[in-house]
Structures are given as structure tokens and as C-alpha cells.
């Protein structure tokens, strides 16, 4: 079974066109990194919600959790626990 990180990486790859393993776990996803814009960011969140069966409220989103693959995986695991 695929790990959380592999699943997150393949979603980001589909949105950005980057290869799933071509960026670091700590590469910024938004500004100064992969340069996701706010609109593709919304797409990312919708896809994560679908993939992991979680619901992500705007209030829970901050730059710390959206920063990179690593922080996003942590956020998803925590969200799934609730």
C-alpha cells in the first residue's frame, strides 16, 4: 500500500507537472518553491480531501501546515485522527 507521502506527492505531481519524486520533502509548495498559486492550492485541498476522506476547514489551514510535503503529511495524519 502506498504511503501517505507517496499519495500526497502524486497529487502535487498531477497539479504542477513536476515528477512525483523530483522535489524535496521540505521544498516549499507555494511561494519560493513549486509556486502553486491560490487556485491550484484550492485544487490541492479538494484532492487531498477526496484522497484521504478528510474534511479540511479553512480555519485549520496555515502556512506551517501547507509549507511542504512533509508538513502536509503531518497535517493529514493529524486530521485523520480526529
Amino acid at each position: 500500500m502506498k504511503s501517505v507521502e507517496e499519495r500526497v506527492r502524486s497529487i502535487i505531481a498531477a497539479i504542477t507537472g513536476y515528477g512525483p519524486d523530483s522535489f524535496g520533502a521540505d521544498t516549499p509548495l507555494f511561494r519560493g518553491g513549486l509556486e502553486l498559486d491560490s487556485l491550484s492550492g484550492v485544487e490541492l485541498i479538494l484532492r487531498l480531501e477526496r484522497e484521504f476522506g478528510i474534511s479540511i476547514a479553512d480555519e485549520d489551514l496555515d502556512l506551517a501546515s501547507l509549507h511542504s510535503v512533509q508538513t502536509l503529511c503531518h497535517f493529514i495524519v493529524e486530521s485523520g485522527r480526529e
Binding site: T16, R31, L36, V42, E59, L61, L66
Partner: protein, 344 residues
């Protein structure tokens, strides 16, 4: 009727735009008044398209002989036409909500089918075509330069989208390839109608806490407490006109972004990012300690919430659907790398 304004009129062809049935070999003739309506609505910045069961090549050829083909964006013409699906597809391609779309057809069963399948769409009878420019739903308050060129702006976007679809590789590389130029400048009085229009028309990429009227824009324009910035975009595919607005309330050392909006025509191109970075830079240059922003959550503008968050704004109090964001100005992101930002 109500406030509802139509942004796109979708035409049926046989017996609506023209009399006769093309596929039956009829010698078709443009209906009286059709051309005048098409040209008039186009000049007002109302987009037009086609949903028709027809042979696409023949139909376009016919429209071309009348010099009308270019007036229609994303025409949906096919032999196996499902009109609701065609209309929904047009709205999707133009980034419009269905409540801003009208459909005109001579066939009562097609009208009923569309009204049933897409209740938000305004359905019109073919006979109404000549009088449409006089109806309230097609009225425009101010005729802006942008409106007059809106279709051409969309046509540049159609070309860009086609290039993007055939692009293999990273999205970021495509954005670089577009060679986007964004001019940021202080708004002048000639910009007021376009600013008011953007505030009224923009739903998805609009943080505005409240809808402003034309008068409100003028009031802010004439006040020393407000700074209005407009963004004009062009790229290798053409010109897009004024596509972004930022209104900042500047009271002493307290600056607050009251409106940040981006035309949905250019969503995903980094215009909001560039405007926000500009605001942050200006606040820092002024030696401020923080920059505030107001955001009103709607069903459509989630992207703007994310825009603030990903640029380092901290979410503060929420009251009556309004969220206050604050940036401490310590780390300010650069302009998007793919945009040549020119501040004039």
C-alpha cells in the same frame, strides 16, 4: 426584474439565429434584427456562444459568410447535441456561473429541457432576439473600454488555453513561456468604471467585504485615506486589459486591504499574488509594523483565503462571516518568478 445581469448569451442556430434548417439543405437567411443584437451585445461586453445540433463545419462556414463567426466564443455545435450539456460546458470554459447565462431557442421542448436541467439559466424565446438589447438583463451601467474589448480578451485567453492543453511538462514552465507582463499603477479617474465593474462581476477571486457601487469607488478615489491600485496584464497571446484591483485603506500607520480582486478571466496567472506582494512591499517601505486585510468568506472565494495564508498572513478574529488577516511584514515573498512586474 431583479438585479440579474446576463454575461453570456447562448444562441441556438436553426430557426433562431437564422430561418431555415441548414442540415436539410435549406437556403438559410439571417433573422431580422439578429445581426444588430449580436453586434450591440458584443459592444457592451456581453459574451455570446452557440449551442446547436448541426454540422459544425457547415454552421461555422455559414456564419463566416455573414462575418459573424468571430462573435461567438467556444461555439458548441455537434450532431449529437445535448443542449444543457453544451451550455454547461460553455459556462465552464468561460468561467461563468449559470445564473449569468441566457439561452435563446425557437423550440419550446429545448427551452423546457434547458430550464429543467439548468434552472439557473435564463431561457428566452427566439422571437425576443431583436429586443434583447432593450431588456434590463442585458443592460450595462457604464460602458468601459474593457467591455468593448472583452471578447478579444477572451479570444487571447482561448489561444492561451489551447497552448496550455498541448503543453507537456511543468505548469511553471508554461507560465514562464507565456511571458506575462503586469503593470501596477495608481488608479486614475478613467479607471473608475472598470473598477466598479470588476467589483460587481468578480465572485471567485474577490475578497471584498462588501459590494461597492460606482459612487463608493469615486468616494475612495477622491479620499486621501485610500489608495487604489490597478493591474493591467498582457502576454505573448495578447492583451487582457485591467484584470486586478487592490484598494488599501491607509489611516496613519494602519493599513488595511479592503478589496483585493482578480478577474476570473486570468485566474491562476499570479495576478493576486503579485498585487499582494506589492501591497506588502509598500507597507514595509512605509516602515509599518503590520498590514491588515479584510476578507469576506463566500461560497466561491476560497482561493483568496488561501492567497492570504500562503503569503504569511495570520488569520485573526472572525465576525459575521468577515475574517481579519494580519501580516507582520517580517518575511515578504517576492513577485511570482514568471511575471515581469512593472510598477509605474
Amino acid at each position: 426584474m431583479s438585479e440579474r445581469r446576463i454575461k453570456c448569451l447562448v444562441w441556438d442556430l436553426d430557426q433562431t439565429l437564422w430561418s431555415g434548417i441548414l442540415l436539410e439543405g435549406d437556403l438559410v437567411a439571417l433573422k431580422p434584427g439578429a445581426r444588430e443584437t449580436i453586434v450591440e451585445l458584443d459592444g457592451r461586453g456581453i459574451l455570446q456562444s452557440i449551442a446547436s445540433r448541426n454540422d459544425p463545419a457547415l454552421a461555422i462556414e455559414q456564419l463566416t459568410t455573414w462575418g459573424l463567426a468571430d462573435y461567438f466564443l467556444h461555439p458548441q455545435i455537434s450532431l449529437a447535441a445535448d443542449k444543457p450539456a453544451q451550455i454547461a460546458h460553455i459556462a465552464h470554459l468561460l468561467n461563468l456561473q449559470l445564473e449569468h447565462v441566457a439561452f435563446i431557442d425557437d423550440d419550446p421542448s429545448q427551452r423546457a429541457y434547458v430550464a429543467y436541467a439548468l434552472p439557473a439559466v435564463t431561457v428566452l424565446e427566439a422571437d425576443q432576439a431583436p429586443i434583447l438589447p432593450q431588456t434590463a438583463m442585458f443592460a450595462v451601467d457604464y460602458l468601459t473600454e474593457e467591455a468593448r474589448h472583452r471578447r478579444q480578451f477572451y479570444q487571447a485567453e482561448v489561444q492561451r488555453q489551447a497552448a496550455e492543453r498541448s503543453w507537456h511538462g511543468r505548469r511553471l514552465d508554461f507560465l514562464q513561456y507565456c511571458q506575462t507582463v503586469l503593470v501596477l499603477r495608481a488608479a486614475a479617474s478613467k479607471d473608475v468604471p472598470r473598477i466598479a465593474e470588476l467589483i460587481e462581476r468578480t465572485n471567485q477571486l474577490n475578497t471584498a467585504a462588501y459590494r461597492f457601487s460606482h459612487k463608493d469607488v469615486v468616494g475612495r478615489m477622491n479620499s486621501s485615506e485610500y489608495r487604489l491600485v490597478v493591474a493591467q496584464m498582457s502576454d505573448r497571446f495578447g492583451d487582457y486589459g485591467t484584470v486586478g484591483v487592490m484598494i488599501v485603506h491607509q489611516l496613519d500607520q494602519q493599513w488595511r486591504i479592503e478589496v483585493l480582486l482578480v478577474s476570473c478571466r486570468v485566474m491562476g496567472r499570479g495576478v493576486g499574488e503579485a498585487l499582494l506582494c506589492y501591497g506588502l512591499q509598500q507597507a514595509r517601505v512605509q516602515g509599518l509594523q503590520s498590514l491588515h486585510a479584510l476578507y469576506r468568506r463566500t461560497a466561491f472565494n476560497r482561493a483568496m483565503h488561501l492567497l492570504f495564508v500562503t503569503h504569511g498572513f495570520r488569520r485573526g478574529k472572525q465576525k459575521d462571516g468577515m475574517v481579519a488577516f494580519t501580516h507582520d511584514l517580517e518575511v515578504i515573498p517576492d513577485y511570482p518568478t514568471w511575471i515581469d512586474v512593472q510598477v509605474t
